[in-house]
Each structure stands twice: as C-alpha cells, then as structure tokens.
C-alpha cells in the first residue's frame, strides 16, 4: 500500500512551484470514487429510466474527474522537474544532470496531457450515449407511455 500512498501525496514543496496549492490528489480521487458510488447506487435504486441514465452520467463524470486529477498531478510533477532543472541551471550543475531533469519533465508533461485528452473523449462518449439513450427512451415512451423499469419486464426467465 506504500506505493499507493506515495502516489497520492502532494509534491514535496506543498505545490508552491507548480501552482498546486490546495490540490490534494487523494481527496480528488476520494471525491471521484464517492461520485461513482452515488451514480452506481442511483442506477440500482431508481426505477425511472431517465434517472438511471442521469446516474450513469454521474458515473462517467466521476471517471472524468479521476482522469483530470491524475493528469493534474502529473502536470504538477512535470512542473516540479522543470523548476528543478531551472534551479540546477542557475546553480551551474553539470549539463547531463540538467538534461536528465528536462527529459523527465517532458515525460511527465506528455503523460499528463494524455489524461486530459482522455477526459475530452469521455465527454464525447457520454454525449453519444446520452443522445442515443434519450432517443430510445422517447421511442419506447411513444409505444408504452411509461419510463418505469418495473413495466419493462415483458421478457424474463
């Protein structure tokens, strides 16, 4: 579990350099998990199909939050490396050390970006699912005039 904890710690300087003051990865992930759980509970508990779809949107948003938080954490680490590189340059450290720090900064920047991009894709996916879902609900409602899942049990066993 140690690895899990170190990952969730804020940067060593309290996020000063990266502008991460007040950002706590652990709490962000906890919030994301909570929203996910609430969404899941909604899917289980609600009998109205529209509310179920909304609950699913909630779950997707929780996923997005998780992605964005992880990405932000990586961007923060990247900023730390950038700052360290700048500091090393100022202190006249050897060139390889500086290059190494800059390379690390680049890696963390890229990995941070891919999380953000994934977040954007999730928005698209959520939109597509919502659009299709609502269309199907409307089509169903026209025939049966109900959105209650308890009425949707013509096929069972």
């Amino acid at each position: 579990m140690n690895a899990w904890l170190t990952l969730l710690e804020t940067p060593a300087d309290g996020g000063q350099l990266a502008g991460l003051v007040g950002f706590k990865l652990a709490s962000c992930i906890a919030l994301s998990c909570a929203i996910f759980a609430i969404g899941a509970w909604g899917v289980l508990a609600r009998r109205n199909i529209l509310l179920m779809l909304i609950s699913i949107e909630l779950m997707l948003n929780a996923v997005m939050l998780a992605f964005v938080s992880f990405a932000r954490m990586r961007a923060g680490v990247a900023a730390e490396y950038t700052a360290a590189a700048a500091k090393a340059l100022a202190e006249g450290a050897p060139a390889e050390a500086i290059a190494g720090l800059q390379a690390k900064s680049a890696i963390w920047t890229t990995s941070g970006a891919s999380g953000q991009i994934f977040g954007l894709f999730i928005i698209a996916v959520a939109a597509a699912e919502a659009a299709v879902g609502l269309a199907i609900v409307i089509s169903y409602y026209r025939h049966r005039a109900t959105v209650d899942t308890r009425d949707m049990t013509t096929m069972k066993f």
């Binding site: 899917v43 179920m52 066993f157």
Partner: protein, 744 residues
C-alpha cells in the same frame, strides 16, 4: 493444383512403391462405400424406386465386405507367394508361417492445432480386420434380410440410408488409426442407433426410448473423452501406432515447421514392455521401483513407474466407463432393452452384433494399456460378471421375445468383459464374433416370427410355430443351441473357454485368486440361466399349441427367401464358427495379443516336445471346466424343455414318445419348478427388474431431471427482467472481482 492436393493428402497420391500400397488405397473404400450408399439413399430417395434403394444399400454393404476381404487376404498372404501360387504347397506353408502384415493407410493430417495433432488414417491389423469382416459380413446379410422385413414400410429409403450411415460410422470406429477417429465413429454409431430406435417416431414411447439410449451413451462418452484427454496428457498422441514413415515426411502442409511426429500409444506400450528387465512381461507386472523410459513422449522423458501406472490406470478406467455405456454394462445397461423399440433387423445389427460390442473392441484395441493396471482389469471382470448374472436373471421372466434376447445380449456382453478382465482379450473378441453370428441369427429369427405373427411380440400368444415356419424354427434352434452353449456349437467354444480361463486364473492369480473363483461360480450360474431362458423362448414360441387369436393364426406364414437365406447362412456360421477356436486360443499372438495361454506361460507344446507341468495343469483345469459348463448348459436346456415343452405337449395328447417318461413326472417337476426354483428365481428376477425400474429409471433418470428442473427454477427467478436487478448483479460481480484480484 496437383502439388497442393499432394500436400493435403500425402498418402493418397503417393507413388505405390510396394505391393501393399494398392490395397492401402483401397482400404478407404471400406467405409466410403456405405457412405456413398447413404448419400444416394438420403438425397435421391424421391427419385429412385424402392427396389433400387434397397439394392443400393445392400450392394454397398456387400461391396464393402468384398473389399474388406481382399484387404484382409492381402495382409494375410504375401503377394510374391500369391503370384507364384502354382506351388500350392508353398502357399500353404507360407500361410502358416508368415505373420499378419498390418496395413496402415494414411490420408493426411486431420487436425494440427493448439499443440495437438490427429491424422486421417485407417489401420487394419488382425483385430480390426476381423471386426471389419464381421461388421460388413453380418451387415450385408442383415441388409438383405431388411429388404424383405421392411418391405411394407413407407420410409423404406430412409431406413436404408440410416443403416448405411451406421455401417460407415461403425467401420470408421473399427478401422480408425487413432482414438479421435474411433471416437467420431463411436458417436456416429450412437447417433444412428438413436435414429433407428426412434425410427417409428410417431409412437411417443419409441422416440423416448431413442432419447434414453442417446443420453445413457453420452454418460459413457463423458468417460471416453476424459480417458482420451488423460492419454494425451501421458503420451502426447492418440495414434494407436506411428503413421507410416513416408507419410510423416511429406505431411508438412503448413509453413510452420511441425513438431516431430509422435509415435503411437501402442508403440510406447510395446517399448515399455521390451525394456522390462524380465523381458517377458505381459500382464502389467511393472515393478514399482523401476523407471520407465518414455523418451520421445512430449515433454516427459522419464516417468516414475507408479505415476505412469496411475495415469494409465485412470485413463483405462475412464475409457472403460465409455465402454460400459456403449456396451450396456451395469449400471449403464438400461437403455439396451428399451432400444428394442426399433425395427428388428436393427436390433440384430446394432444392438446385438456390432455396435454394442464396440466397447469390447475398444478395450481389446487398447489391451496393451489395460495390461498395465491389474486393478482396472479386475474391475472390468467384476462389472462384466455382475452384468452377465444380473441380465441373465432378468431374462428368465421376460415374455416379450425381443426383450429376452435383449437381456441375453447384455448378459453375453458381460461375458466378453469378463474375458477381457481376465486378460484373455482374444477370447473376448472370439466371443464377439461367435455372438455376432448366433445373436444376429436369433434376432432375425425373432423378426421372422414377429413378421409371420402380424407384429405380435408376446411369447404367451405364440406357440406351435415350428410347423408353420420350419426354416425359422430350425435356424433358431441352431442359434439357441449356440447361445445356450450346447457342445460343439460356436457359443460353446467361446463361452466355455472364457470360463476355463477364469477358472485357471483362480488357481494362478495370487492376488485375486478367490475372487476369480467367485466370478467363475457366478459365470456358471449365468450360463445355466442362459440355457434355460433360451429354451424357454424356443419352447414357448415353437412348441405346444398356438395361442394366437384366429385372425393372426390364419395369417401365419414362413418368411420369403430374402429373409430365410440370411437365416440359413448365419445358422451355418453359428454351427461352425466355433472351429476357429484354435486360431484364437492357441496360435501364438493371434490378433496381435497375448493369448490366454501366454498369460499363464502355458502355450501348447510344440510337436515332439514334452508338455510342461503348467500345460498339464491347464489341461486339467480345462477338463474340469468342460464338465461344469456342459452340465450347466445341458441342465438348463433340459429343465426348460421339461417345463415348457413337455408341459405344453401333454394336454393335447400328442406328446410324442421322447418326452413320455418325463411328462409322467410333470406334476413333480412343475411343483418343484413352481414352488422352489421358479418362486425363488422369479422373485429374484422380479426384484432385479424392480431395482432396474426403481433405481435406474426413477432415481437416476428422473432424479437428474428433477434436480435440474429445481436448480433451473431457482436460477430462473434471478432473471426477473428488472434492469435495476441486473445492474445489481453487475455491481456485485465487480466487487467480487475487485476483492479477489486485490487479494491475490
């Protein structure tokens, strides 16, 4: 194009470089001819006439028999000698001295995937060759008979299509050169049996009987498949013998280099035997401390011998479960009596002569493996004996003529497994052969009777038929004598020697000696019962007054020639086939198996050599057994004749001189029979029958059905149709998976 074809079928287009090759190419005709017959009858049944469809089917079977005979002769007689055949004496000499040359035709790789390889190949050695001859020979006669018997049926072509398909599957089973091919045939004959039992499907009961047969066989198949997997795990191959060298070299169809072709299972088994320090090991007496060299098996170079023996034992046990299903042994026998719902020639071909003996054939085919596990062999013998006595007892009280024969078949199959379990595999096959003749004869005779009696099967409504159907009577009498074990008929030779071997084992086998004695005793009782119920059948059917109603009585007639010719032919074989005994019994390594005498180191003395002590002992045992079996057979026959024939004669006052003396004692004997013998036997037989119905039908079949229904009902309630509930299932599943994976 040709090159590609050559790649795909390396054996097919190979240049024949030795004499055998032409016959090897012909080998595939044996199963393919019936397949062709099936295709013609299945797809052209609307266009060809009734006569033509029967002729096509019969001809297909007959041609398969002809080809089989040619191939068998080619194996048995060397070509060079045959070409200079004018020196008849030389041929004669050669026939005696030259061992049988097995044929192995290889038609290509069937499946090579996932690290497993199986071939298309046919293998004819003495064992499979003999079985092929029996299957095609008896099959041809029954096809011929069917053209008469099924003459009035409207689904004539469909019947012959099924019959030919059955022959194809059975020949694949027998001739296949690996267990998978055998299994394909095994399932194929099961399917045909199911189709033919339910042939008159308009009758709900008969369709149900077909279903029962199919399901019981699947239980056996479960064992068979698991046995195959075990053997794959041990040997890495399912080939019986290695494919021919030429085929191995040219079979690299795929670009991926194939792993070196493994040897066959039986090759391994033979090799293991050879490296045994004693050198003459035959009965699985592998020393526990000894290492077995299996170099060449996939991945496993050296086994400790105990684990090898365990694995082989397990495989044999599982395969025997498969045999129990197919050959109707306890407790999987119950489908066979029900299977009599099918047309009578089908009962003769499938449920007496060929398919049900497939289990015995498989055990004999793999005898080299069974020899490694004496405990499994003992189990085989136990199951065989139990089935023999159990079915014989039930047979005593049956009144349906076909049911009597069905239980008798189950009982005789028990004898075959008793022989196999005693290590006398060639005797088991001997009994398969003789039984094929006389039981097919009896069934066909029964069919003739049923045909003449306007489809009446109840023996209580028959009687006195010998005057109306003389040919049927005489041939059935011969068949009955053979089944009862009357001296010098086919059944006497095979059954008597099986019991002799069992008796010899009781003296010879140090670990299970007294058990063998018990099995011998039970076998004798079963032999007595066999003789009794057989002649009970004869007596009730052919003697006494005719008990049928007037309408039926007016209609009784002898069957046409197409039906009597097969009867006569089979009767000749039932009388004479026993004289082959010398080949099965004492020729060294006939069928490629140790003979029973090999097992006891008691080969008959060479000419001019003094008999050893063991040989003297064997002769003694044989003589003792001869006395007992003859007593059992003659006693059973006599008792049945007294009770059923003599009793039937007197009231009419035309008792005939032969039975006058006995009929005077009628009351005494009848009382004796009724009060003591019959009551005890009937009670016991009824008990067995009740146990059959209660345990097998109710508990096993129904019980499984009910259990599935209940679990199904419980599970169905989970499928409520409510989407929230389903989502709950997903969530629970997710949590369980999370928990399991995080824990691991």
């Amino acid at each position: 194009m040709l090159d590609q074809l050559r790649d795909l079928f390396p054996g097919w287009l190979a240049r024949p470089d030795h004499y055998h090759t032409w016959y090897e190419q012909m080998l595939c005709l044996i199963p393919l001819l019936p397949l062709l017959g099936f295709l013609i009858n299945a797809f052209a049944r609307k266009t060809i006439s009734r006569g033509a469809s029967g002729a096509v089917a019969t001809l297909a079977a007959a041609m398969a028999f002809g080809v089989a005979l040619l191939c068998y002769m080619a194996c048995a007689i060397d070509s060079q000698v045959a070409t200079v055949g004018k020196y008849a004496g030389m041929v004669q000499e050669h026939l005696q001295s030259r061992p049988f040359q097995p044929m192995h035709a290889f038609y290509g790789t069937w499946l090579d995937v996932g690290g497993f390889r199986a071939n298309f190949g046919l293998y004819m050695d003495e064992l499979s060759g003999l079985m092929t001859l029996v299957v095609t020979g008896v099959g041809t006669l029954i096809h011929l008979y069917s053209t008469g018997y099924m003459g009035h049926d409207k689904s004539y072509a469909r019947y012959f299509a099924y019959l030919n398909l059955f022959l194809f599957a059975m020949l694949l089973l027998v001739l296949g050169d690996n267990l998978i091919l055998t299994f394909v045939g095994w399932e194929g004959v099961g399917l045909c049996s199911y189709l033919l039992i339910g042939f008159w499907y308009t009758d709900g009961d008969k369709a149900a009987a077909g279903m029962k047969a199919f399901l019981f066989n699947r239980v056996g198949d479960l064992g068979f498949l698991l046995g195959i997997f075990t053997l794959i795990a041990v040997f890495g191959t399912v080939d019986y013998v290695a494919p021919p060298e030429a085929a191995q070299a040219s079979s690299a169809v795929m670009r991926v280099p194939a792993p070196p072709a493994p040897k066959g299972m039986l090759d391994y088994a033979a090799n293991i035997k050879r490296i045994d320090p004693n050198g003459n090991l035959t009965l699985g007496q592998v020393d526990a401390s000894q290492k077995l060299d299996l170099s060449g098996t996939v991945g496993k170079a050296v086994f400790p011998s105990w684990s090898f023996k365990l694995a082989i034992g397990l495989a044999c046990l599982l395969l025997f479960v498969g045999a129990m299903g197919k050959s109707a042994q306890l407790p999987l026998y119950a489908w066979l009596p029900d299977a009599m719902a099918g047309p009578t020639p089908v009962s003769a071909l499938i449920h007496a002569a060929t398919m049900v003996t497939a289990g015995v054939y498989m055990v004999a085919r793999l005898h080299a493996l069974f020899l490694f596990s004496p405990h499994v062999m003992m189990f085989v013998a136990f199951v065989g004996t139990a089935t023999a006595i159990f079915a014989a007892l039930i047979g005593l009280t049956q009144t349906d003529i076909k049911k009597v024969l069905a239980y008798s078949t189950v009982s005789q199959l028990g004898y075959m497994f008793l022989a196999a379990g005693a290590g006398a595999f060639s005797l088991a096959i001997f009994h398969v052969v003789t039984h094929a003749f006389f039981k097919a004869l009896l069934f066909l005779g029964a069919g003739s009777v049923i045909h003449g009696m306007s489809d009446e099967q109840d023996m209580r409504k028959m009687g006195g038929l010998r005057k109306h159907m003389p040919v049927t009577f005489v041939t059935m009498l011969i068949g009955s004598l053979a089944l009862a074990g009357f001296p010098f008929t086919a059944g006497w030779f095979s059954k008597d020697t099986i019991l002799a071997v069992v008796l010899a084992k009781s003296h010879d086998d140090p670990s299970f000696g007294s058990w063998w004695m018990a099995l011998y005793g039970l076998g004798l009782i079963a032999a007595f019962c066999t003789a009794f119920y057989t002649f009970r059948l004869v007596g009730m059917t052919f003697f006494g007054a005719c008990r049928a109603d007037e309408k039926t009585k007016a209609h009784i007639h002898e069957s046409p020639a197409v039906m009597t010719i097969p009867l006569i032919t089979l009767a000749a074989f039932a009388l004479l086939a026993g004289w082959m005994w010398h080949a099965f019994f004492s020729a060294p390594h006939f069928l490629g198996m140790p003979t029973p005498l090999d097992n006891f180191n008691m080969n008959p003395p060479e000419i001019g050599v003094e008999a050893t002590e063991a040989q003297e002992h064997w002769h003694h045992v044989h003589l003792v057994n001869l006395g007992w079996t003859s007593l059992a057979a003659l006693g059973g026959i006599a008792l049945a004749l007294v009770v059923y024939v003599a009793k039937g004669f007197v009231p009419k006052g035309e008792g005939g001189n032969v039975f006058t003396t006995l009929s005077r004692n009628k009351f005494y004997l009848e009382a004796f029979y009724d009060k003591i013998v019959s009551n005890a036997f009937i009670l016991f037989a009824e008990l067995m029958h009740v146990a059959d119905v209660l345990l097998i039908d109710t508990l096993l079949v129904r019980g499984v059905a009910v259990a599935t229904r209940w679990t199904g009902a419980a599970l169905r309630s989970l499928q409520s149709g409510l989407v929230n509930f389903y989502a709950g299932g997903v969530l629970v599943g997710a949590l369980v998976i999370l928990y399991l994976l995080l824990l691991s």
